[in-house]
């Protein structure tokens, strides 16, 4: 805790969650063993880990496309969540014993602020809940010591139910609610948008006998690669408005996982910073496009550059 001063967001990370990254690292929590792989993304996460060690945030807040909720934008709100998370798609790669500390006060506050802004939201208060692999993978890759409390936010199904604008408007409100709750909490928070970029993927593992066979890993298509580069370039240039304009096409043409709302939530919480994002690494996992990117709001504040309300 930082005392009675107003809380703030230190920064945000685009923190993709392919379980392959955990598998490749061989942490003790994950049962399957590997010989490595996907180093470009894992090395990128090393920089995130170092940054978090230096910053020592009070909390990491993650929005995960793999905790899908039909009604509402729900928030993990149990002090301690433990269990075994097995990825239903890649069970041979990800069987992870998780042990999470949740910042329940902040979680409940985010949910309350979301409701105040007209969203449907409720705290998830069941201790038997099994945390999704997206949340776990992003948090593990960012902070494998698990020594920073977390808040997990669900991906409401609205992007797949409403028109894109309505759905992303909800994510913008959710970001506002998150920011208000952080400010009221007095805490220093880091945000994580747990999503890939382009999301078309191979329908079979290229080499089932060796999932980490990097000679068989590549982007699904050149068109996807071009989309990823276009989006990354806009983010690196801090051209948030231009990004907003092309997001619907990106979602449609590259089946981009940003459709789940994680990136929009994070950008909104950070007040759409006109700040060049730092690319730490890009890589493909079973054909999808993944970037580890950082928005360091402490740099923005020290430089006096601004943010924008949409």
């Amino acid at each position: 805790m930082s005392g009675a001063s107003e809380g703030r967001i230190l920064g945000g990370w685009l923190a993709p969650h392919p379980p392959h990254l955990v598998y490749a690292e061989n942490p003790p929590q994950n049962e399957p063993r590997s010989s490595g792989g996907w180093e470009m993304l894992r090395w990128a996460y090393d920089e995130c880990r170092a940054k978090l060690k230096a910053q020592r945030p009070d909390v990491i807040i993650v929005h995960s496309p793999h905790w899908q909720t039909t009604v509402g934008h729900d928030v993990l709100a149990v002090p301690k969540l433990q269990g075994l998370s097995v990825d239903p798609i890649f069970p041979h790669l990800f069987r992870y014993k998780f042990d999470l500390q949740v910042d329940v006060d902040l979680a409940e506050s985010i949910s309350e602020e979301a409701r105040a802004l007209g969203l449907t939201s409720k705290p998830m208060a069941n201790p038997a809940f099994r945390v999704d692999y997206g949340t776990i993978t992003s948090l593990h890759m960012m902070n494998p010591d698990w020594d920073i409390p977390m808040v997990g936010i669900s991906a409401n199904n609205s992007p797949y139910f409403h028109d894109p604008k309505t759905a992303q408007d909800e994510m913008i409100k959710l970001g506002e609610a998150t920011r208000i709750a952080i400010q009221k909490s007095g805490k220093r928070a880091v945000l994580a948008a747990s999503n890939s970029l382009s999301h078309l993927h191979f329908s079979a593992e290229p080499n089932p006998a060796l999932p980490e066979d990097m000679s068989r890993e590549h982007v699904f298509s050149h068109a996807q690669y071009e989309w990823d580069v276009r989006v990354i370039n806009l983010l690196r240039a801090g051209k948030i408005f231009e990004l907003m304009n092309i997001l619907p096409d990106f979602m449609e043409e590259a089946v981009a996982e940003v459709k789940a709302g994680s990136l929009m939530w994070m950008l909104s919480a950070m007040e759409f910073p006109q700040l060049p994002a730092k690319l730490h690494g890009y890589g493909n996992v079973i054909g999808t496009g993944n970037a580890v990117m950082e928005w360091d709001l402490t740099e923005m504040h020290s430089r006096g550059t601004g943010s924008t309300q949409l």
Partner: protein, 270 residues
């Protein structure tokens, strides 16, 4: 031929502790009734095909011999914990996997402690299988179209026919998938639009008259118009496996709504 019984049922957790005054209780009782019926028919194995178990890298077949635990639904977590216990016919799972693979479908029998069992299968098993009949579970491959799913079902029909255990096939799926995006009073639950209701009843009527070919033709429009769950591939699976045969009308035991979506308990003639 050992396909002895087949049904289409909903799989949302509202059915396990029906809210007083809601229509969920009637759906749950209809599912319990089909459990009684299949037991009376001597069923020794229940196969679940749930469109809530989505797989990406081909089809998965559950092969872990015993599975138990406590489940909390990702969406409906406020409805509480759902204890579950399955006895899985793992040998038959391997047979199904081999049959589907031989027919050209990428299929794997999986056996992992802690593998998440989908809510639909758990709910259906709780209501239908009250005396521990052996089970099987088959995923819904996301990238299989309607016709592919029919063919996939056909590949399993041979495995069932070659086996002596009287078998029930239970497809777990909603009908129309348009839910209410906010919390509702369960006592006021209803199909989310008259158009969805009309479509659901049209499809049920076709199934009831045994006009499955006509239903097949309408499914693409139905799925698009009403967001029928996962393209209503549950019917494709039932068609392929030989449960939904032309001119053999099904019986709709109950039709209702669960949070705006369409739900029906339909028994097929086997």
């Amino acid at each position: 031929m050992t396909l002895t019984f087949a049904a289409l049922v909903p799989g949302l957790p509202h059915l396990l502790n029906p809210a007083p005054g809601s229509g969920h209780d009637a759906l749950a009782r209809a599912m319990a009734h089909i459990g009684d019926t299949l037991e009376a028919k001597g069923v020794k194995r229940i196969l679940y095909y749930s469109t809530q178990w989505l797989s990406v890298l081909g089809t998965m077949v559950q092969a872990q011999p015993t599975i138990s635990g406590v489940h909390v639904d990702a969406s409906w977590h406020q409805l509480g914990e759902i204890p579950f216990s399955f006895k899985v016919d793992s040998a038959f799972a391997e047979q199904m996997s081999a049959a589907a693979t031989a027919a050209g479908f990428r299929t794997q029998a999986i056996n992992y402690e802690g593998f998440p069992i989908d809510t639909g299968t758990i709910v259906a098993n709780r209501l239908i299988n009250r005396h521990g009949i052996a089970t099987g579970m088959i995923s819904s491959w996301l990238y299989a179209g309607y016709e592919d799913t029919v063919k996939f079902g056909q590949s399993l029909a041979d495995a069932i026919a070659a086996d002596t255990a009287p078998t029930a096939v239970i497809a777990v799926s909603s009908l129309s998938g348009n839910y209410f995006p906010t919390d509702i009073d369960p006592r006021e639950d209803h199909i989310s639009s008259p158009e969805d209701d009309e479509w659901n009843q049209r499809i049920i009527a076709l199934m009831s008259s045994g006009s499955f070919g006509a239903a097949d033709l309408l499914v693409p429009t139905y799925a698009k118009t009403c967001r029928a769950e996962v393209g209503f591939k549950a019917l494709a699976f039932l068609r392929g496996i030989g449960a939904a045969r032309e001119k053999q009308g099904a019986t709709c035991l109950q039709y209702g709504a669960i949070h705006g979506t369409g739900a029906a308990v339909i028994q097929f003639s086997c």
